[in-house]
């Protein structure tokens, strides 16, 4: 019988309920990064899961990996979790470099659930919950095509070139647009290194040199900065921003009409669900599909054509 | 002494375990010139550094103008009127001459804003007073020659209204002519009531301008007399702790058929030096004299391949003419460069390293550090290097001892031809004699030596052949037989 979701769980949008208290004490490790409101949102989901599972005989330890998002850091974190002999691990193995380590975890019989972003190359993880970055990109592409009526000019600002997640989102959209909407011209990509100030400058310059621009597609950090650039260039209504992650700081631009759409990942919910699944898997032998695609809800801004 | 300007009692100082000053007592009155003498490492620089607040003292008292005072830093000493011109020149090369003259406050007064016009005018006036009106106060100090920099240092002292002026070996890089100009200023200052502490290794100068002579040995005052009561021999005995005679050096004649080691035929660089021609034979000691700036350093650099040859040829028996310093050392040349601090020492490396470095360039493979240490030990004994041991970093040695280490570096590479640029710069009498003797012994064994010196007696005492440069031109090349100081100076001032 399922344990009803707590208030905290509901607040983060948690959807998976625990199947009861664990028969013997369980220790779960969660590994995630910090340094932005996105990760902060994931933290909330982890905290909610920890609180929800505490009375159910499961301790959730949150191993924070800091602000340096690299494969080595994740691998070192997983190594640490193995050393500390956790019963299960949930993590964000965003880089392909983590595949070997994740396979090692599974080979040692420790269940592993990935959330938010899995490596592009598939590992043997038991469950992966998340939005497929490439598909999300395609979704963004569809949205852009709809907004522009399949023609016009769009510019791309990406986070880090070479970051799998960013590249996948970029290519998901661009491949679709190039294939199905040949009348759309693409400018860029420009790399802003997730820096707001750089994204702002790039957006400004893009609008200067492309008076006929209609969309700026931002694959990672910087969508609110691009929106601010649109506002400051008095191009609201003419140029729209399509980006990711519906975070509080972006609300004013959704309302103002600069941000047309944000593809959200519901990081808190993903974190919560993955941890509870892990609990259910270990305590009750529950099984889940290897790939759980989280639907990418699109948060529309005021200026979007619906 | 009640009229003392400065009275120091029991000044003590140690560097780590090394006691350098053992209770030095020292007095000086206004309008007095006191010569402070002593062997290399006796503690002269250390003592005056304490007086001027550049080093903290471990013990003792200083009474300045009748009141006990502690100068915690140079600033407070400067404000009191103690101006110290250090052994190593201390101009800021990237600032202009006028800024250096008034460094620290630049005549800004309360406003804190520099009036460049006023500064330049005042600087011109000061430079004129020290007979250097030709120096443009607006140029960077780093672009001046050593001698000019020395003069700017003196002008700096004037700018500060010195009450006590400390000159630590001010003449070491000056020619007699320039030194004389300096003494004129010193006498003038003395007449205006300035007290002057004068450190030098040149006795003629000491007798020429000082009123009193204080001798330090191993950090203790061993002599303090009016200059009239001293003799050269007496001072040397005080300094070294024994009677010491300066042996007249015999200059072995060079056989006419001795093999030629190096022959220069009308060599010149791009416009500054040359043409110069000479032949250097086995066992010959060629002494090169000239005024500072005559191009002697450049000539040595040409010969060693450090400076590109623009004209003429250099011939060596084996046909090897080096084109850089590495090749020079490898082909049996050794160079002791001018400017010990900037061009000579490897400051934080050990003494053993500093000696072994050049020799090593000829060998390869795995080094035997034990051998290098014993190499150092050999030269320490031969040259009397005062040190704590082979591991001591060279920057902790006194200037003269550093010079000996660099000399040892040259000898350690067992060169065929030894090039020495001002080898006795800042070296005390006894060491000078040691170095002269070494040079002569090596020459007798067949080594050839080319040395540059600004000390005329040194050139005449040591060289078997004398060359004089004047503004880069060779104005004299003659065997050192019957040459007089006058002959050499005439050539040095010749407008070739």
């Amino acid at each position: 019988q399922e344990v009803a979701l707590s208030e905290g769980a509901k607040a983060v949008g948690g959807a998976v309920a625990a199947q009861g208290a664990a028969p013997k004490p369980l220790r779960l490790a969660v590994l995630s990064f910090q340094g932005s409101s996105f990760w902060e949102a994931a933290d909330k989901g982890i905290a909610a899961a920890a609180e929800y599972l505490k009375p159910l005989n499961t301790t959730v330890d949150y191993i924070q990996l800091g602000t340096g998002l690299t494969a080595e850091v994740m691998v070192a974190g997983i190594d640490g979790a193995l050393t500390k002999q956790y019963d299960g691990i949930a993590a964000v193995p965003i880089f392909d470099g983590t595949v070997a380590k994740v396979n090692e975890v599974v080979a040692e019989g420790v269940p592993f659930v990935s959330f938010i972003a899995d490596s592009a190359e598939k590992s043997n993880r038991n469950v992966s919950i998340g939005m497929l970055a490439y598909d999300a990109g395609a979704k963004a592409g569809e949205f852009i095509a709809k907004q522009t009526g399949g023609k016009g000019k769009i510019a791309v600002i990406t986070g880090y070139l070479g970051a799998a997640q960013h590249d996948a989102r970029m290519n998901g959209a661009l491949d679709l647009l190039k294939k199905s909407y040949p009348d759309i011209t693409i400018v860029g990509p420009f790399e802003c290194k997730d820096d707001d100030a750089t994204a702002y400058s790039q957006a400004t310059d893009i609008m200067t040199s492309n008076p006929d621009l209609s969309i700026i597609y931002v694959t990672a950090g910087g969508s609110e900065a691009a929106a601010k650039a649109v506002r400051d260039s008095k191009a609201t209504g003419k140029v729209g921003v399509v980006g990711y992650d519906d975070l509080p700081e972006k609300q004013q631009y959704k309302d103002g009409g600069e941000i047309l759409a944000l593809i959200d990942q519901a990081p808190a919910r993903q974190a919560f669900d993955s941890i509870v699944m892990l609990h259910n898997m270990i305590a009750f032998g529950a099984t889940y599909p290897a790939d759980i695609a989280v639907d990418a809800p699109v948060a529309l801004g005021k200026g979007a054509k619906t | 002494m009640t009229d003392c300007l400065l009275s120091a009692r029991g000044i003590a100082k140690s560097f780590d375990q090394n006691r350098v000053l053992h209770g030095v007592d020292f007095d000086i009155s206004a309008g007095q010139v006191v010569a402070l003498l002593g062997e290399n490492g006796a503690g002269k620089s250390t003592f005056v550094n304490i007086l001027s607040g550049a080093l903290p003292r471990d013990g003792g008292t200083i009474v300045w103008s009748g009141a006990e005072t502690v100068f915690r830093d140079t600033r407070s000493a400067l404000d009191a009127g103690i101006i110290h011109i250090h052994q190593e020149l201390s101009l800021i090369s990237s600032l202009s001459v006028m800024e250096n003259l008034f460094i620290g406050d630049y005549m800004t007064g309360k406003s804190g804003i520099i009036d460049r016009k006023a500064l330049a005018a005042k600087a011109r006036e000061l430079l004129a007073r020290v007979g250097a009106a030709h120096i443009d106060p607006r140029v960077e100090a780093g672009s001046l020659s050593t001698a000019e920099q020395q003069i700017v240092e003196i002008a700096k002292a004037l700018a500060r209204n010195a009450r006590l002026l400390i000159l630590d070996e001010p003449t070491a890089s000056l020619t007699p002519h320039e030194a004389e100009a300096l003494f004129a200023i010193v006498r003038d200052l003395r007449a205006h009531g300035v007290a002057i502490i004068f450190i030098s290794h040149r006795f003629d100068e000491v007798f020429a301008i000082s009123d009193r002579v204080v001798v330090l040995r191993d950090g203790r005052v061993v002599g303090d007399r009016p200059v009239a009561e001293t003799t050269r021999a007496g001072i040397i005995a005080d300094m070294t702790g024994r009677a010491f005679t300066f042996d007249a050096l015999d200059k072995p004649a060079i056989a006419a058929d001795a093999p030629i080691r190096l022959k220069a035929e009308a060599i010149a660089d791009k416009g500054r030096v040359g043409p110069v021609s000479f032949a250097l034979r086995e066992g010959e000691i060629l002494g090169i004299f000239g005024l500072v700036g005559a191009g002697r350093t450049e000539l040595l650099e040409l010969l060693c391949g450090i400076r590109p040859l623009a004209a003429g040829t250099i011939v060596r028996p084996d046909g090897i003419v080096p084109t850089n310093s590495t090749e020079a050392w490898q082909s049996g040349l050794a160079l002791l460069p001018e400017g010990r601090k900037t061009n000579g020492i490897l400051p934080s490396l050990s003494l053993a390293e500093n000696v072994a470095v050049a020799k090593r360039q000829k060998s390869g493979g795995i080094l035997d550090l034990g051998v290098e240490k014993s190499l150092f030990a050999r030269f320490r004994d031969a040259l009397g290097i005062v040190s704590e041991g082979p591991e001591q970093p060279i920057r902790r040695l006194s200037g003269g001892n550093q010079q000996k280490v660099i000399f040892a570096r040259c000898l350690a590479s067992e060169p065929e031809i030894l090039f020495l640029d001002e080898p006795t710069h800042g070296v005390d009498v006894r060491t000078k004699a040691d170095i002269y003797k070494q040079i002569q012994d090596l020459a007798k064994k067949g080594m050839s030596v080319i040395f540059v010196s600004s000390e005329l007696p040194e050139v005449l005492a040591l060289a078997s052949t004398v060359m004089v440069l004047s503004r880069g031109r060779q104005t004299l090349l003659a065997p050192n037989q019957g040459l007089t100081e006058n002959d050499v100076l005439t050539a040095a001032f010749a407008q070739a």
Partner: protein, 317 residues
């Protein structure tokens, strides 16, 4: 200036090579993009070089004094969020301005004290404060960007008479710092300390205070930089300024300041910042591929400094 004078200038002033390069890029862009020479774009470029330029002014003083300040990028982030939080919690934007500049000043001062009193090398000290300041910015915000849109933010995005306020600040500060460096006692002491700290001390200059001063100035200007960036985006992100230290140092060195200390002109620094800013603008205007942007920046930096070195090869060691 006659032609001979121009040649003399180019041969003797380190910043001349970079100025020549700047002119070249400027002319090249004028022909290559019809949008370049528009008032709107030029005003954008002016704004884009401002923060790097302002922070580089302080960095230049530090480097001239023989130091280096790696913490500026993190100080930008910390100041931005501090400014935003202070003005939001107190409701007084002016306090926000004071807070942003004040925290920068405090970190700069701390750098200076650590370096002079504890005698820690500037590189390592500021590498340490780089980490600490970034950590602190993240900690106080929990990683969340802070809304920053009161009148204080006007400094970041506003314009006066068509010119970005940021740029006006850059020009004003350049003049002030230039006057400071060339016409005041403290300014000249900065050069003396960087050229030969020992000789400066022996000449009675308070070396420690001079060093503390330059680090404090650098920190304060980085603080102002954070305020401007946060204001420009009306959003202070704790990650602002990440990696800026390298851009800033590159601008300073491009501008002809010697990393070994003692030499450099303030005007050159702004030229260096302008060159980097102009290149970034060019990348977007000319739609240069992302990978080539990285490569081009690297090449230009080496080229500019290399051309300058070749130009004056005779000098030194």
């Amino acid at each position: 200036m006659t032609a001979a004078n121009v040649v003399r200038f180019v041969r003797t002033r380190r910043e001349a090579t970079v100025l020549a390069m700047l002119v070249l890029v400027f002319l090249g862009l004028t022909f290559a993009s019809e949008f370049f020479l528009t008032g709107r774009n030029l005003s954008n470029v002016a704004r884009q070089i401002s923060v790097v330029g302002i922070v580089a002014l302080g960095q230049a003083l530090v480097i001239i004094a023989g130091g280096i300040d790696l913490s500026v990028g993190s100080v930008i982030g910390l100041s931005a969020v501090t400014g935003a939080i202070v003005s939001a919690t107190t409701g007084m934007p002016s306090l926000g301005i004071a807070g942003a500049i004040g925290i920068g000043m405090a970190i700069g001062f701390a750098n200076g004290v650590l370096i002079t009193k504890l005698r820690i090398n500037p590189f390592i000290t500021t590498l340490g404060t780089l980490s600490i300041a970034r950590g602190a910015a993240l900690l106080i915000t929990n990683g969340n960007p802070q809304r920053f849109d009161n009148w204080a933010a006007f400094l970041g995005y506003g314009k006066i008479g068509g010119l970005p306020v940021q740029f006006i600040l850059l020009v004003a500060l350049t003049i002030i710092v230039w006057l400071f460096a060339t016409r005041t006692r403290w300014g000249r002491n900065v050069y003396a300390v960087g050229d030969n700290a020992r000789a400066a001390r022996l000449a009675g200059i308070d070396v420690a205070r001079t060093r503390i001063l330059v680090f404090t100035v650098s920190g304060s200007l980085a603080g102002l930089g954070g305020l401007l960036l946060g204001g420009m985006l009306t959003n202070a992100n704790p990650n602002l300024g990440l990696g800026y230290e390298l851009d800033v140092i590159a601008a300073v060195i491009l501008g002809g300041v010697a990393l070994s200390g003692g030499r450099g002109s303030i005007g050159g620094v702004v030229i260096g910042a302008a060159l980097i800013g102009l290149l970034r603008n060019a990348f977007v205007l000319l739609n240069v591929s992302g990978y080539w942007q990285t490569i081009t920046i690297g090449l230009v930096v080496i080229l500019a400094v290399g051309a300058d070195s070749l130009n004056r090869r005779s000098e030194e060691d």
